[in-house]
């Protein structure tokens, strides 16, 4: 397997993965979505709520706020030594909120949450939580814990994790009369026309939609589009909880662990027989 980084910043990462196969890449994708843990508010104690939103709606909104996650200092609640229902310092972060609209209607943003650990804060300060009318007040204590995306979408560390087959475009110049229909119809401007020839301008942009093939008036078609099932353009967009490369690394780790577990299970089975 060969990996080439196409693009990367704090939130996004685009990789070209060669010499692998569909099941492996898909497994990584699935794990990134459903198994890589991150922090999210799981429980809320509402001390005072005179707003118009019900308690359950506010806690739902709190839960969906992505939090910057420190995977190394915190344990998953089910793996934590404390074995406590309420959690301990190693598996729980407490955030508090005390907001009151004194002057008039105002919006309470995620930035107003006060965390006991300055590292664990909402990814963005600008997420609106609730609008309070004058003299309404909201006081609460929220407990963030690690969790997995398979249990609730709020624990997904990625807002997008996807891939596509590497596109392969062949233009048969013998059959092509350069009518340019395929160029016009292509939504991603993959093709270009120079003189009377059609050229691939931006191969990576191709989405394999085959519109160009269908548009080609020739019979047999002068253009052919296919995907390479062993080469992938892999795309991760993090919610901000974890850096994208960390998500991928964790995913690989989890996959390895799962494979190991599976192998052990098989061995145990064999021994039993």
């Amino acid at each position: 397997m060969k990996i080439e980084v196409l693009e990367k910043d704090e939130r996004n990462m685009r990789l070209l993965i060669r010499e692998t196969d569909v099941p492996y890449v898909n497994a990584l994708r699935r794990i990134a979505i459903s198994e890589v843990p991150c922090l999210a508010i799981g429980e809320v104690v509402i001390i005072e709520n005179s707003s118009i939103l019900q308690d359950e709606m506010i806690s739902h909104r709190l839960g969906l706020i992505p939090l910057k996650t420190d995977l190394d200092s915190y344990n998953l609640p089910e793996e934590c030594e404390c074995k406590s229902e309420f959690g301990c310092n190693l598996c729980r972060v407490t955030l508090t909120l005390d907001a009151e609209a004194k002057e008039g209607t105002r919006t309470v943003y995620s930035g107003e949450l006060v965390s006991e650990n300055p590292e664990i804060v909402p990814v963005s300060d600008k997420i609106p939580l609730i609008k309070l009318a004058k003299e309404q007040r909201l006081r609460l204590e929220a407990y963030a814990r690690l969790g997995k995306g398979k249990n609730h979408a709020k624990w997904q560390p990625v807002s997008k994790c996807t891939y596509k087959y590497l596109p392969k475009i062949e233009i048969y110049s013998k059959r092509c009369d350069g009518c340019g229909k395929c160029v016009d119809i292509c939504p991603r401007k993959v093709l270009a026309k120079s003189q009377d020839k059609i050229e691939v301008r931006d191969l990576m942009a191709c989405i394999l939609c085959q519109d160009c093939v269908k548009a080609c008036p020739q019979n047999p078609k002068a253009i052919e589009v296919s995907g390479d099932e062993n080469t992938f353009v892999f795309n991760i967009e993090s919610t901000g909880a974890l850096p994208p490369e960390r998500v991928l690394a964790e995913a690989v780790k989890i996959l390895d662990k799962q494979l190991e577990q599976f192998e052990n299970d098989l061995k145990v089975k064999k021994d039993e027989d």
């Binding site: 699935r30 969906l64 939504p187």
Partner: protein, 1121 residues
């Protein structure tokens, strides 16, 4: 002339709705009733004669006022127990279960020996106030003030608040009164030609029928006259004595007169008016003295016959002419000179709205009141020199009549269901309910023609919005462009047309009568005219100039329709009319500068009407119009231009994007479903006390909107969410209209809603000073349910806020005094033992106590309302629908990683099955999907207005520019295997509605439970914890399989098993006597041989019921073989 663009038409309509609102018809009708209707009823009565033997006097009734003489309150008010009165807003009425009603006072003046005494202003009762009408305080308030009064500023009004509940008077669609309808009855061997009329005057309705029977003679049926009267006899009775006079009243044409021959034969021997009256008298009052017979006959022709023309002897001549016209039409029909009238033509229909219906009630109530006043005053007699009328007035008569009728919908004379509880599912359902129309035709009879859509419904009634099933086509909804006439005085119009060249009927000469056009005003023939076509033109011109009321319409019928030209002028109320742009010489009168004026706010809609740019046409006048649909189509022949084609739709149908691409029944289905979608039904829902309501957590404005959504306020109170929808089969979990949901979408809040239910309890006071009490019932109270059910109650007997409650938990603890005397156990020192009458949660419902309202009811007792909320996260089996009649339930909730995805990371929220599409032909949904996708990427909504929208070609072009395939489909990869799908998947953004049928409200199972008292079989229905019916067909199935043991188990062991004791000697039922400790048969005594038999309790009941019918069922027992 430049084009009127889509935007211009929209601007125009915005002006229209801003001025008129969506419930104008109710408000206009009610205001008219308050302004004139009330007084008219009073004037009909005029005075009350008080027949005191020694000194009879009268009470003259004067003007009616909306005021309380005592406190000078002039609007809706409440009276407290201590007698104080204060004005109220509707919100207080809803909360405290009051009626939102205003006081009515009447000037009454006793007249003794012709001398008027002091006038007294007497309070006579309360009249319910329609919200946002003239009398309602809300009509004066600005948006901010409305909010301060606890109202939703966008609430349309147009309904009543009675005992705290909102009631609508649904408009009735009736056959037009006072119009002759001719038709042919071909049931018999020879056809019967008939003319029918519902002659209606205030408070009286008479159905008159004129028949030309196979014997070629004409007969008339009159209410109150047992047999049909020969036509000529009636004509003579009405004062036309000579044959010539009679024949000329019908027609001057010889052909028509000849057809009267047989009718004349029937009246042989009845030569004078006196003879004729006696002839009628002989039938009305057979065998009575002559004087009485004559009197009876005269009442019959004066009061019961054609009462709308007049109810005195003076109007006999007019009646004769009217009857002549009826006969003429029937003869013309027979001679083939005229077609039968189309009963379903909308020109023959009138709407009866709140005003006339309330006037009916008030008339009856007021008559009762006057009777009561008369009785009271006569009882008092003349005691002193001063007569205080107010002492004899019982205001309850009127108040209670109104309140009772509005609360129950019971209008008297068997008319039920006139009012309905206002539908508050969402904003659309409320508006649609306020614009509903009901036809009085029976729903059990087919009435196929009456249910059909008629061409004249165009622009008046919605072609799509009607229920399915028994009410199909009988319940209709007003189209957006429909306006209801309030009427104008016909006398004024008559004077105008006389001045324009119409010759009054008594002044017309023979030539004119023979060749001129007949002119009718409100169905009555008033004269003749030599140049009708020009007259109609002139009439219209004058109306456009504002010289004639815009309420009047005129229609000219040329010789194409009958052999005579005819001119009809309508000025009555209840006609459904629609506004149109006037076109002259191929150019519309609406010019860009007018649009500009409207846009800048300089002009309002009414200015357009005043300036003769727009006029209203009723169905009859529209027959003369040639209307262009589009600006570009306007040709010299056109007389009018549609403002916008989409206004032919009603409230619900106009929320469907691309409706013209759908098969029409699908639009009807969607129109019905739009009323079940959850949204925010009113912004003041936190203050409201509806017994059940839902709110959607994150309602969204649809990405694909329609032009009228804004005017209807749909964008402010939407009822759905934009979902990414892929068309794909998914592991069989979306077969048969199921839909697959993305689990992550649901977890992120998609389609979440809250259900609110309000529980209510009142501390009643009983006769004898006993009272209910809100308290925590003590153990030992009769009916005590067990400690755990009361655990959440606070010392005041009311549950605490935010308490989590489940079925059976008590919300309001209350104890009541015993109901019956026998419940008093002797005379206890402590007083009577109290019963527990607490209010508990419904079984099978759960929730959290959301709000508690503690207030005082109208009777002064303490009233508590507890609101319980329950969050509803979409689950398997919840019902959803797109806006194209495509409904389905959730079949599977799939984790996000298993869902198909695109390379952009798009994962659908919903997956629908492709098989839902071909047979239903809801192409509109596909286009919406395409449009929704375009809108979401480009960040601007797409206009999907029916008939005038962004076309799919444009959308596809836009999509390619935005980087999507023009086909609307995309490359998807399977979430499970990771492989690319071979086919591209059609995906886009479609607006989905969550409907209020949720599994949580329906789920039900039972093992053991309650049984009915009478039959001891399991109860029925979820609310009573009932069993699931093992019906006939299920029984047949088990019999077919020979599964006797299972059958016995279901029908006996698990149902109403009972051990019956039978005396083998006599075969009758015996019993076990506990005292004697033995089995007894009262018939056989010692000879008895008693055996137990296991039977169904229902069978035992049957035996006993037979016995009560004096049938002796005997059971012969035999040992089991």
């Amino acid at each position: 002339m430049t084009e009127i663009s889509k935007e211009d038409a929209h601007l125009l309509l915005k002006g229209f709705f801003k001025e008129k609102g969506l419930v104008r018809q109710h408000l206009d009708s009610y205001n008219e009733f308050i302004d004139h209707g009330l007084q008219e009823v009073i004037d009909e009565v005029g005075e009350i004669p008080i027949e005191v033997p020694e000194a009879p006097y009268k009470v003259k009734l004067g003007q009616i006022w909306i005021i309380d003489p005592q406190t000078r309150i002039t609007g809706p008010y409440a009276t407290e127990v201590d007698g104080t009165k204060h004005e109220i807003y509707p919100m207080e009425a809803r909360l405290r279960n009051l009626t939102y009603a205003a006081p009515v006072a009447l000037e009454m003046t006793p007249v003794i020996d012709g001398r008027e005494q002091d006038t007294e202003l007497v309070y006579i009762g309360n009249i319910p106030v329609m919200l946002k009408s003239k009398l309602c305080f809300l009509s004066q308030l600005s948006r901010e003030e409305l909010m301060a009064a606890g109202e939703d500023p966008d609430d349309p009004g147009g309904y009543f608040v009675v005992n705290g509940s909102e009631r609508v008077i649904v408009a009735m669609e009736d056959l037009a009164p006072n119009r002759v309808i001719i038709d042919m009855d071909e049931k018999g061997a020879a056809p019967v030609y008939q003319a029918k009329i519902f002659s209606t005057t205030v408070g009286f309705r008479a159905r008159i029928e004129l028949k030309l029977k196979p014997d070629n003679a004409i007969y008339i049926s009159v209410p109150g006259v047992p047999s049909e009267l020969p036509f000529i006899v009636l004509m003579r009775a009405l004062g036309l004595e000579s044959d010539k006079e009679i024949a000329e009243a019908i027609s001057l044409e010889k052909d028509i007169q000849r057809a009267l021959e047989f009718s004349f034969e029937k009246a042989l021997g009845v030569e004078t008016a006196k003879d004729a009256i006696l002839f009628i008298g002989n039938r009305v009052a057979h065998g009575q003295v002559e004087e009485y017979r004559i009197q009876k006959a005269e009442t019959a022709i004066d009061k019961n016959f054609l009462p709308h023309i007049g109810r005195t002897a003076e109007s006999r001549k007019d009646k004769a002419l009217f009857l002549g016209e009826m006969a003429c039409r029937v003869i013309e029909l027979k001679l083939g000179r005229r077609q039968t009238d189309d009963k379903d033509h909308f020109k023959n229909k009138r709407l009866r709205l709140a005003g006339p219906l309330l006037a009916d009630l008030f008339r009856i109530a007021f008559r009762n009141l006057t009777r009561d006043i008369k009785y009271q005053l006569e009882r008092i007699g003349v005691k002193g020199p001063v007569i205080t009328v107010s002492a004899a007035v019982r205001p309850g008569i009127i108040s209670e009549r109104f309140q009772h009728s509005l609360a129950t919908g019971n209008w008297g004379r068997g008319r039920v269901g006139v009012t309905q509880l206002l539908d508050r599912t969402n904003h659309i359902s409320t508006l649609s309910h306020l614009r509903r129309l009901q036809s009085p035709l029976s729903r059990s009879q087919p009435n196929f023609e009456a249910r059909d859509l008629h061409p004249t419904h165009w622009g008046r009634l919605c072609p799509n919005e009607t229920p399915e099933g028994s009410n199909c086509g009988l319940v209709k909804n007003l189209a957006l462009s429909a306006c209801i006439s309030v009427g104008v005085n016909p006398e004024k119009i008559k004077q105008t047309i006389f001045s324009m060249g119409v010759v009054p009927i008594y002044e017309a000469n023979e030539a004119l009568k023979l060749s001129g056009a007949k002119v009718f005003v409100d169905g009555n023939i008033v004269g003749y005219c030599s140049s009708p076509k020009e007259l109609a033109q002139e009439f219209r011109q004058r109306r456009r100039r504002g010289e004639i009321s815009t309420e009047a319409n005129i229609a000219y019928f040329s010789k194409e329709f009958s052999e005579r030209e005819e001119l009809y002028v309508n000025c009555d109320e209840g006609r459904v009319r629609r506004p149109l742009i006037i076109v002259e010489n191929g150019s519309p009168r609406l010019q860009p500068e007018h649009i500009q004026k409207i846009g800048s706010g300089e002009w309002s809609w009414e200015d357009l009407v005043k300036n003769g740019i727009i006029e209203y046409l009723d169905a009859e006048e529209e027959e003369n119009a040639y209307i262009a649909l589009k600006m570009s189509e306007v040709a010299p022949e056109h007389t009018h231009l549609e403002i916008a084609t989409y206004t032919i739709l009603g409230i619900c149908a106009s929320t469907i994007p691309y409706a013209e691409h759908n098969q029409s029944p699908r639009n009807s289905y969607q129109a019905a479903m739009a009323k079940q979608a959850l949204g925010v039904y009113a912004t003041n829902y936190q203050q409201r006390v509806d017994s059940r309501s839902h709110t959607l957590h994150y309602p969204q404005v649809p990405l694909v909107d329609t032009a009228l959504m804004e005017t209807m306020g749909y964008n402010l109170r939407p009822s759905g969410q934009n979902c990414v929808v892929a068309v794909l089969s998914f592991e069989g979990y979306n077969m048969e209209d199921a839909i697959v949901f993305n689990k992550a979408s649901i977890e992120r809040g998609l389609a979440r809603s809250t259900f609110y239910r309000i529980y209510e309890a009142e501390c009643r006071q009983y006769l004898g000073g006993l009272k209910d009490k809100f308290t925590l019932p003590e153990p030992g109270t009769r009916g005590y349910r067990g400690e755990q059910y009361y655990r959440l109650l606070e010392p005041d007997g009311i549950i605490g806020l935010e308490a989590s409650v489940t079925g059976g938990d008590v919300l309001i603890g209350r104890i009541s005094p015993p109901r019956f005397l026998e419940e008093y156990k002797e005379f206890e020192v402590k007083g009577p033992s109290m019963r527990d009458t607490s209010t508990d949660m419904r079984p099978s419902e759960i929730g959290i106590v959301d709000a508690i309202f503690i207030t005082q009811s109208g009777e002064g007792s303490k009233l508590v309302k507890v609101r319980v909320r329950d969050q509803r996260v979409p689950e398997l089996g919840d019902k959803f629908a797109s806006r194209h009649g495509q409904k389905g339930v959730i079949g599977l909730i799939v984790p996000q990683e298993d869902m198909p995805f695109t390379e952009d990371g798009i994962v659908p929220d919903i997956i629908v099955n492709p098989h839902a599409i071909p047979s239903r032909m809801t192409v509109g949904q596909f286009i919406e999907s395409l449009a929704g996708k375009t809108a979401s990427v480009r960040g601007k909504t797409v206009d999907g207005t029916p008939f005038s929208n962004e076309s799919s070609t444009e959308l596809r072009k836009a999509l390619v520019k935005l980087g999507f395939s023009h086909t609307g489909s995309e490359v998807f990869y399977s979430g499970v295997t990771g492989q690319k799908f071979v086919a591209n998947i059609y995906v886009g953004v479609v607006y989905y509605q969550k409907l209020h049928h949720m599994v949580a409200d329906k789920i039900h199972a039972r093992a053991r439970g309650q049984v009915q008292m009478l039959t001891r079989q399991p109860t029925e229905g979820r609310a009573r914890g009932g069993g699931l019916r093992f019906g006939e067909m299920e029984r047949d199935c088990l019999i077919g399989h020979g599964a006797a043991m299972l059958l016995r188990d279901r029908l006996l062991e698990e149902s109403d098993k009972y051990t019956l004791y039978i005396c083998e000697n006599c075969g009758f039922i015996a019993y076990y006597d506990m005292k004697q400790r033995k089995y007894v048969c009262k018939l056989c005594e010692d000879k008895a041989k008693i055996s137990p038999v296991i039977v169904s309790y229902a069978f035992k009941l049957l035996l006993q019921e037979l016995m009560s019918l004096c049938i002796a069922p005997q059971l012969r027992l035999k040992e089991k073989a």
